[in-house]
């Protein structure tokens, strides 16, 4: 397998991994305070990017906004319209009680998965040494 094929293969895996994490990220980012779409996009990019010491999720608007709309439709986020000086009213999203429960459940699973994977990856590395 060439290096290009390996990169493509890893890229596809990373894509799937991050796809599953967008919902958790959105819910987690909204647990402290409400935010409108563009603000949340910037918050997630800044909060997970190089400036924050992370590799960055680099969410784009085409990923975030449909997820926000879907979560609002499922009752996990509540929407409040507030006037804006730069254009149409902003849609502020905040976590509902159901959204909070979903976040806790997802966070629990995430920690378990993370610990398990970390354990296995570290063990694998140790075995190689």
């Amino acid at each position: 397998m060439s290096e290009g094929d390996r990169n493509a293969s890893v890229g596809g895996w990373v894509t799937q991994l991050r796809k599953g994490l967008v919902e958790l990220l959105v819910l987690a980012a909204l647990q402290e305070r409400e935010a409108y779409g563009y603000e949340l996009l910037q918050r997630l990019s800044a909060g997970t990017g190089p400036a924050a010491g992370g590799p960055g999720m680099e969410l784009t608007e085409s990923t975030l906004y449909p997820v926000l709309a879907r979560l609002a439709g499922e009752g996990l986020l509540a929407v409040r319209h507030a006037p804006s000086s730069s254009g149409p009213p902003r849609r502020y999203y905040r976590l509902t009680a159901a959204g909070g429960r979903r976040l806790r459940d997802m966070a629990t699973h995430w920690r378990q998965v993370n610990e398990t994977v970390e354990l296995l990856v570290r063990g694998g590395n140790g075995g190689q040494r």
Binding site: T60, G73, S86, G87, R91
Partner: protein, 204 residues
């Protein structure tokens, strides 16, 4: 004074938002979801424009540049299925998609202009044909008369064995030419007007 978009910039933004809405509709997203996505997007573009332009007027070139940096409309429907969320997509796929989107748009515009020009040409040709049909009985009569005069004035007269039978066009036949020509002109004018109106609407 607040920031505002020029008419062209507004039209460009509306076209992008409409395309996103259509893409989401095709993907079976609910009306509420579609509205949420489009509202968030519009809010983002206008906020970015306000930062750039301050209290001035934002022109279409500025909006075009902003939209070129954003995802193509079809990405909004596909994002959750394909998970276009990572830097790999961001750094590699998105520029290609955006470029592809612009190229498709340019190709579509070119094809549309070509079709529009063809429609105008056909309309003009139909009008000319109609004019010719209406004028033909008179032209024909005039030419026959001229030919008769020319033959009659030949020095040796009419050659032997040649029969000149000049038959005047019947009024029914003349009416047929006139009627067909009138229909052709009417079709050409109406077709040309429709083509012009469609082009104007596409420009808006």
């Amino acid at each position: 004074m607040m920031m505002e978009l020029s008419a062209e910039a507004r039209a460009r933004l509306d076209a992008y938002l409409d395309a996103v809405e259509q893409s989401l509709r095709a993907a079976g997203r609910s009306r509420e979801e579609r509205r949420g996505v489009v509202d968030d997007l519009e809010s983002q573009v206008l906020e970015t424009a306000a930062r750039q332009a301050g209290d001035g007027v934002v022109d279409s070139a500025t909006v075009e540049a902003m939209l070129a940096r954003m995802d193509p409309p079809e990405a909004y429907a596909a994002a959750e299925e394909t998970g276009m969320t990572n830097e790999v997509r961001e750094r590699t796929a998105r520029p290609m998609e955006a470029r592809g989107h612009r190229e498709r748009e340019q190709r579509t515009n070119k094809a549309y202009r070509w079709r529009s020009a063809m429609r105008s040409a056909v309309a003009i040709a139909v009008i000319l044909c109609g004019t010719f049909l209406i004028a033909w009985p008179e032209v024909s009569e005039y030419m026959e008369q001229r030919n008769l005069v020319r033959v009659a004035s030949l020095p040796n007269g009419v050659p032997q064995g040649v029969n000149f039978v000049v038959t005047e066009m019947t009024s029914e036949r003349k009416f047929g030419f006139w009627f067909t020509g009138s229909i052709a002109i009417a079709c050409g004018v109406i077709g040309g007007f429709v083509a012009f109106a469609m082009e104007r609407r596409a420009d808006r």
